[in-house]
């Protein structure tokens, strides 16, 4: 639009400038292309370098090493448990927070978001201070015979603490965006609060919930700082994939890179899945679908 306007102005001035306008336009396009190239190169180059660091058979050897397999198992197990806890407890938590007004609500939301901005190492220290042997709940836990620090349970706690806020924040936003009158209608049809949430709230927010779950899972798979401080890095017990990268960094760089490539593919898969969920979901969200119908029916 702006270029069309510019051409109109120059021709109105009567000057012989369609050529100058074309040159300016070409310069603009060239500038934009250079900018895109610089940014993309910077972002993509390290990924390409990682992928091409070693021949494929070395890569496969690295993935087949015992230390890698142990880390895969630890990562999958701890993340699966943390993810399940996050979704099962976090979904109703977020729903209640999003759909009800009460005193202190904004304080609660801020507390939920705090771990997001907290440095992971600080999160690890905080977890030690709370659940460690000498921590706040340490003696109580010891009485119960529970020793969390440097166990697989500690890995789960670290992931929960660092990654679950990503889900909670996204889920709260998704539930807040729901059209309240749809939930109201469900109420008048005899659905109590639980049924309203299960049959209407969650299905309608599923796109946002899926995206939030993806972000949370990706963060959990990559969790490093809190885990190494709170759970340590013992192969086969608490050594997750990111911790294995770190411990192999000095000993066997090829293996470390192989694990890095694996984590890269996991992240890419999560990103792709999130986008897919979000796209399939937006086709039937309530207000946009009604708007669509009206614009279709208008010309008839």
């Amino acid at each position: 639009m702006s270029t069309g306007h510019g051409i109109a102005v120059t021709s109105a001035g009567g000057s012989p400038s369609p050529r100058r306008a074309a040159v300016a336009r070409a310069a603009l396009v060239a500038g934009a292309a250079v900018l895109m190239a610089v940014v993309l190169t910077f972002l993509v180059l390290p990924i390409v370098a990682l992928l091409t660091y070693q021949p494929v058979h070395d890569l496969i050897d690295g993935l087949r090493a015992q230390v890698t397999i142990d880390a895969i198992i630890v990562s999958l197990k701890t993340n699966a448990i943390a993810f399940a806890i996050t979704v099962v407890l976090g979904t109703p938590f977020a729903y209640i927070l999003a759909r009800h007004q009460f005193r202190g609500r904004s304080v609660v939301i801020t507390l939920v978001e705090l771990p997001l901005v907290m440095p992971p190492a600080v999160a690890g220290l905080a977890l030690l201070a709370a659940f460690g042997r000498l921590g706040l709940l340490g003696s109580e836990l010891q009485v119960l015979g529970v020793d969390l620090a440097f166990t697989q349970a500690a890995v789960v706690l670290a992931i929960l603490f660092v990654a679950s806020p990503f889900y909670l924040r996204g889920a709260i936003a998704a539930f807040e965006a729901l059209d309240g009158s749809v939930l109201d209608v469900a109420g008048t049809l005899g659905a109590g609060p639980v049924r309203r949430m299960l049959r209407v709230g969650i299905p309608l927010a599923s796109g946002g919930l899926g995206a939030a779950a993806g972000a949370s899972f990706a963060r959990g798979m990559g969790e490093f700082g809190a885990t190494i401080l709170f759970a340590g890095s013992f192969q086969g017990v608490t050594q997750t994939l990111p911790l294995a990268v770190y411990s192999l960094f000095d000993a066997n760089l090829d293996q470390a890179v192989a694990i890095g490539v694996l984590l890269l593919f996991v992240s890419a898969a999560i990103l792709f899945a999130s986008k897919l969920i979000l796209r399939s979901w937006t086709t039937w969200t309530s207000p946009s679908s009604l708007r669509g119908v009206r614009s279709i029916s208008a010309p008839r």
Partner: protein, 368 residues
């Protein structure tokens, strides 16, 4: 498929949000089987009243009861899911992730959902065979009818319609409105339509309640409400009005438009000032030469197909604005033409008393 009829009785309903009173003693009785309309401008409290009836909000004071059973009073608050009061919101608010069938069956038990009830309801609203479609595959009017069927499915004691036609194209609105009226009367369900559109309220409902500043100003059959509004503001809200000051002269009233007959008689002593309301369709226009009648000059004309609106300036200090006349069809009158007018039928008049009524405001009420 209907319930034993039950009257809705609302008494002394109060509701404030913060320090802002929204409802200030609403009282209204809707007999069972009636199609009632609650009409009011935005901010009048009609939406809050509807949300209280549905059970979404709790009143501060007062009571709501159906068939003598309290839904809200000092101690009781029946939750929305236990009220059996249907709700059709502005845009239908169908569940977008469920098929038409599943939408209609949402409030039914698992067994009833599979029975003949859903097809029956789809038949009632004229959507046979569309059960497998999804809401986004339906037109706006069809969506509203599904919303109605869904509300009727649970055999509600009352159906609330919250501006259900506002989101529809003008061409569709009248037909969907007629359909809804027919469906509801066939189902025999008591219904309350909440709207800001007084034409809609008058044309659809058996009973119209005008809500103003959190109180019910008048409840009447549409014809009576239009013919005998309780005050000039309400008269101006419910239909177009020419408002002027007149003086009581025994059984008639003296106005700039002549000595006029008053509906129900003149309710003021001889010589008292009164506010007079004359409907545009009562103002008959003649060529000047065909007199008698009050002389005036055409200032503007507007042709609307079925009728025409003519603005006529009258030489009178008591008439700052032109008089509006509504005549059937087209009228061959250009601005500037000299005419005479006659007033047909009785007009409405209220003693001005101590509080002077701002006549200009009442006229403006319908101008937009």
């Amino acid at each position: 498929m209907t319930n034993p009829p039950a009257d809705l009785v609302i008494a002394d309903l109060h509701k404030s949000f913060g320090s802002h009173p929204v409802l200030r003693g609403v009282a209204l009785t809707v007999p069972a089987g009636t199609f009632a309309a609650i009409v009011g401008q935005s901010g009048s409290g009609k939406t809050t009243l509807l949300r209280i009836l549905a059970g979404f909000e709790r009143p501060d004071r007062g009571s709501v009861a159906i068939g003598g059973v309290p839904l809200d009073d000092g101690d009781t608050h029946v939750r929305a899911e236990q009220r059996r009061i249907g709700y059709v919101p502005q845009e239908g608010s169908l569940f977008p992730h469920l098929s038409v069938e599943a939408n209609v069956g949402f409030g039914l038990s698992r067994r009833d959902r599979r029975g003949s009830r859903v097809p029956e309801l789809l038949g009632l609203v004229g959507l046979e065979g569309l059960g497998h479609r999804y809401p986004h595959e339906l037109s706006g009017g069809q969506q509203q009818r599904v919303a109605l069927a869904r509300a009727l499915a649970v055999q509600p004691r009352l159906i609330l319609l919250d501006e259900p036609f506002a989101a529809l194209d003008a061409s569709l609105r009248a037909s969907v409105r007629d359909d809804v009226q027919t469906i509801l009367s066939r189902a025999g369900t008591t219904a309350i339509l909440v709207t800001h559109d007084q034409d809609e309220a008058l044309s659809v409902a058996d009973l119209v309640a005008v809500i103003r500043d959190g109180c019910i100003a008048q409840v009447d059959a549409p014809q009576r409400l239009y013919a005998s509004p309780v005050d000039v503001d309400l008269g101006g809200f419910i239909g177009e009005a020419n408002v002027m000051t007149g003086i009581a002269r025994g059984d008639r009233i003296e106005t700039p438009l002549g000595l006029l007959e008053v509906r129900g008689g003149v309710d003021a002593p001889f010589g008292e000032r009164m506010t007079v309301l004359v409907r545009p369709e009562q103002v008959w226009v003649f060529p000047y030469e065909d007199g008698p009648g009050v002389a005036g000059k055409v200032v503007h004309t507007g042709f609307h197909g079925h009728d025409s609106i003519i603005g006529i300036a009258i030489e009178s200090d008591a008439l700052p604005r032109p008089i509006t006349s509504r005549v059937l069809g087209a009228l061959d009158l250009a601005p500037g033409a000299a005419v005479r007018i006659n007033i047909r039928g009785p007009v409405n008049a209220w003693p001005q008393g101590t509080a002077p009524i701002d006549a200009a405001d009442a006229t403006v009420a319908r101008a937009g």
